[in-house]
Symmetry: C2
């Protein structure tokens, strides 16, 4: 018998795999699920296929990210990519690298989150792998989805509106707050916060949650693609400035953004006002918003707004696409300036989780 808390190396790789496999529910259209050399799955064709990873000390820290929320997020960031192509996630494959001294309870919580988020999104987990890691935890999810579009990054044309869903900057603020010591307790309530945020506990909690449990507008995305209400789309993961630059490059157009129109998240405005910081910069460059960035024909905007209202999502025009080189300009109270990609780059970042 082992002494509690049980660690992965107490039970071994095969037993861990079997334990996880037992938790994965059978799903329709999956004649062979986990447990054989491969899964056998009835997939949509053409299929959307994507992969994204969460790496310890790059995307999260073990001490500040509850395992259950990491499980949710590992799936959510892939659901966001599929949604941004105008599709709906269907089948997920989970590959984990885990240090041998990790507690089994941590892996169980991670799977709680994965399974819960999968159920919410109607996704079946159909395969997986577990490897030993000599250091960091790596959570790699591949997602197969059904196309309702596709909604490409390259479809923007001059005259289209630059439109974003939701509000921006909260996830980046949340990441900063976690690095400064903000913590959730097991029930998801704020258990600790940096001293300077004292009067704004609720704002801190909202930002931390935005970082740990992103909620991309999945249903809206599939629905608008079906109706052809966007000419181009992608998800905001690296930060508006970087992502819009990429859409411009892939579409061969420029863009002009009105700084006053950018929907900065309320809690970020409150916190940055208190701190004397720059809320707009977080919304422009912060990253991990997992909202949609779209090019929308002005004639379609009203229909898009109506559809978004049905799904409880806000859509905001923040500028327009222009003829010319693939540059982004920002107009603000001081006039105009070039908006250079300022999102995170994991390799350039050098140290700590990137935003």
């Amino acid at each position: 018998m082992t002494i509690h808390p049980t660690r992965i190396d107490d039970v071994g790789e095969r037993e861990l795999l079997r334990r996880l496999q037992l938790r994965i529910p059978e799903a329709p259209g999956v004649p062979v699920g986990v447990g054989d050399d491969t899964a056998l799955v009835e997939v949509p064709s053409p299929a959307l296929v994507t992969v994204d990873s969460l790496v310890e000390d790059v995307h999260f820290r073990r001490e500040s990210a509850p395992a259950r929320l990491l499980g949710r997020k590992a799936l959510a960031i892939n659901l966001s990519d599929v949604a941004a192509m105008g599709g709906v996630g269907r089948h997920a494959i989970v590959s984990l690298c885990l240090p041998p001294d990790l507690e089994l309870a941590w892996v169980d919580s991670l799977y709680d989150g994965l399974l819960e988020r999968a159920a919410e999104a109607g996704v079946a987990i159909v395969g997986g792998n577990v490897s030993r890691s000599p250091g960091p935890i790596v959570i790699d999810v591949t997602l197969i989805g059904e196309s309702r579009g596709p909604l490409l990054r390259s479809g923007a044309t001059p005259g289209d509106l630059v439109v974003v869903t939701g509000e921006l900057g909260a996830a980046a603020e949340g990441f900063r707050l976690l690095e400064q010591g903000a913590r959730l307790d097991e029930g998801g309530e704020l258990a600790a916060a940096p001293a300077w945020t004292e009067p704004l506990g609720e704002a801190v909690e909202l930002c931390v949650w935005a970082h740990l449990d992103p909620r991309p507008p999945l249903v809206l995305a599939g629905s608008l693609a079906e109706r052809g209400l966007a000419a181009a789309g992608m998800d905001l993961s690296d930060g508006l400035s970087s992502d819009l630059a990429d859409m411009c490059r892939q579409s061969g157009v420029g863009a002009l953004v009105d700084a006053m129109a950018v929907p900065v998240a309320g809690p970020v405005l409150e916190l940055e006002r208190l701190r004397g910081g720059d809320a707009l910069a977080l919304a422009l460059h912060g990253g991990e918003d997992y909202e949609l960035l779209m090019a929308v024909d002005p004639g379609d905007f009203e229909a898009l707004e109506e559809l978004a209202r049905v799904w409880g999502v806000s859509v905001t025009p923040i500028g327009e696409f222009l003829e010319g080189p693939p540059d982004v300009r920002l107009t603000d109270a001081d006039g105009g300036r070039e908006l250079r990609p300022g999102g995170h780059d994991h390799f350039a970042a050098g140290e700590g989780p990137a935003e």
Copy 2:
């Protein structure tokens, strides 16, 4: 300008991704390849889906595994899984975690190997991701394949022959030799070998290659599944003793293996004779053979043998499946004994690359 050799953090994540994307050829049936939020791919349905990882200091060491061969192997181990289900690989998604100080030339070589192996197998690389790693290199490949079977682990019945392809033990011996200092030069020739192996340079080279560049019997696997010549199948990755135990467990049968019939690889016999070691143990427990383990109806064996001959693969009956509890027994010159799963377990292993 940066000073050579260029490292990943000299160019940054986006530039690295763009660089890799430029190298991936367009493929038929892939309307949207790499570079958007997801790929859009015409996939077979039902599809075989699997994922497997190579983790630095668990599955390989950077100083002894040439990057090009790692690229080949990362794909090969997944091709082996798809083959073992009686299928053929079609689309691969590559997720890399790379330390920022890694040389760009290393990543280029890795992709040389991936693209080369993909071309050999008729596989299109349709997506990928690159993350920063705070430590080890992690190469994660998800493979989607076309089913010709499926060939499950659970199909063995009492009376079926236990059959393996190829010869066993060379990859495990090769791993040991690499740990003892064996090295290939850039041209793939043996450049260094442990002193004790001195008279057996060719055997060392064969074993090292078996470990670094596994060649699963892909075509035979798809072909025999189509013809229904095996009742159950899986690939030998963890070692015969572990894998056969799993097939027995999933099929609800026992098995009796004749030690004298196990096809131990010639170079392993030579090396272990010289060293005074146990060649059979390597063949039974070593792992990473990436050969096929099958349950074959005795009435089908002749047809299987004929088909295998066409594809230049040897097939060897090494025992039979029996009624009873899912245990494996081994008969040898000393009589009979229980063959307990002795393959590697990454978590139990504790230190160094697992075999």
